[in-house]
């Protein structure tokens, strides 16, 4: 279980850049058979959201935020050995951040969720140029392309990307998500044909479960 006490200790070590301590916490949770999804949400995401709050209040520097993000990303690959054991479904998803979108941790989690459900999740990473997204689609022929948007000012880039995909691959299934939608923007999606907005990993999993 991820208690507040455990979380607080972890968070402190994270800001401190104490990689041994954070790695030990994650190993401990894996030993206790705490699920990957829970570690992602209740440890990693919670910690990074808190980093965001402190940063917003000028209580912590970008360097410290970089340190924390980099440590979290490293710990995410610690759970890989437990991720690929599911039966493969023969389905593919390409997950990408938009051009000009530098927040990539959430999108990586999305790619991992696809993997955990037996899909191949290709993760293109932060700030991916539109042309690269398009050539990935033609190369991998994914069942789903997932776009991640974290900052609201990238909504226009999202619209552009969706239009480009539609133009080049009319029948491509598209889903979008990310924390930019915490502050609105949901109406934007309603006006887009056949684009599905998904807000949480739980919702994503039930979407994947019902996909055929």
């Amino acid at each position: 279980m991820i208690t507040d006490q455990l979380y607080n200790k972890y968070f402190e070590a994270l800001l401190d850049g104490d990689r041994q301590a954070v790695v030990a916490t994650v190993n401990h949770l894996i030993d206790q058979e705490v699920g990957i999804r829970q570690i992602y949400k209740d440890l990693f995401q919670r910690a990074l959201y808190q980093v965001g709050e402190l940063w917003e209040h000028n209580k912590l520097s970008v360097a410290t935020e970089h340190l924390a993000t980099s440590l979290v990303e490293r710990q995410m690959s610690m759970v890989y050995p437990y991720m690929f054991s599911t039966e493969r479904k023969g389905r593919r998803a390409v997950v990408t951040c938009l051009a000009n979108e530098y927040h990539q941790v959430g999108a990586r989690m999305v790619a991992d969720i696809f993997e955990m459900n037996g899909w191949d999740g290709y993760f293109l990473g932060a700030n991916t140029p539109q042309s690269e997204v398009l050539s990935m689609i033609s190369e991998r022929k994914p069942d789903i392309i997932a776009l991640s948007v974290s900052v609201s000012f990238n909504f226009s880039v999202m619209k552009e990307m969706v239009d480009l995909i539609r133009e080049n691959f009319p029948s491509q299934s598209i889903i979008v998500g990310g924390q930019a939608f915490r502050w609105g923007g949901q109406n934007l999606i309603k006006n887009m044909d056949e684009v599905k907005l998904i807000l949480s990993l739980e919702e994503l999993e039930s979407f994947i479960g019902n996909y055929n």
């Binding site: 000028n58 980099s70 055929n212």
Partner: protein
Amino acid sequence: MKKSAILNKYVNEHASIIMMLMDERGFVKKSNVFAERILGAEIVGKNIRNLILDFTGELSLDKLLESNGPLLLNVKTPENLPETFYFSFYKTDDELTLVLGEQSEKENVKLRQELLALNNELNNLSRELYKKNTELQQMNEQKNEFLGVAAHDLRNPIGLVMSYSDYLQDELRDRLNDEEMDILKTLESQSQFMLDLLNELLDFARIESGKVKLDMEVFDLLQLVSKSIRLNKPFGDKKDIRIDIKTALDSLPVNADMGKIEQVMNNLLSNAVKFSEAGTNVEVELKEKGGYARVSVKDQGPGIPEKELPLLFKTFSKTSVRPTADEKSTGLGLAIVKKIIDAHAGSIRVESKAGAGSEFIFLLPALGRK
């Protein structure tokens, strides 16, 4: 040059410190080169409050000026990325305020160390991965070798069981009752199945371990296909399934391994018959197209659900489509077929929809007609 002038020039052009002079309303009057690099070229004339990221709206000019000691503030680079500086504000004699912003060397060192550690770890991880991968390859080879030996050594005894049960059926025909005869028949058909399975396993192990050399020769694919159809006709007849051939060609020379291509045809045809209902048709079509010989085997069977298509060419995988007359199924045939076609630098694909039949199409490099 005077010492102070040298110092001034240096700080202005080279130091990694933000230096600005601002008036009492916060407008920037002067800046050094570094400040322009971090904050953008045209900062003179801008207000300090527009240069500093203020998420909460809590920052006022007074607050900045009153602060003593470095203040953690975020700015935004021309690439729209945040950077943190520790700012200090000093009143000068000419009523302007000197703004100095520096980064924390301690934080930067920590970050650099983390990057280094990450990089090392990454190197170790990929080394491990390569090692594991090589081990896996070796284990896979061992598995195939084992499979080959086992299959090979089991073939003779099982062949013996089969021919003895055949022999006994002939010899004891008059002395055994129906039930006893049935037992012998079952013995024979089950050992036949085992023998087929062993042969497929042996094939698979050979192909998988790359031990199979293709015996390339030039032959007429049309003749080979016709022969396969003839050989599979009896099975079709049993279920009242007709196998037709359709082609405008009178020969189609290819350079390939004849025995292996026959194996491919046999599996595709036996599948088409095996999974179709009685009274349907199978159509084999031969074409030459874009430098390839193209063979298609099309049935009117149940088709394959789209979801299961990725399983088809995998080892031991069967789909939810089952034989219609209790025929045997191992799930190895198409895996072998794909390996054979790939080894010929050809390709194979399937077009199928649940309820609408299946079409298996393979391409082989053609020789060109003479």
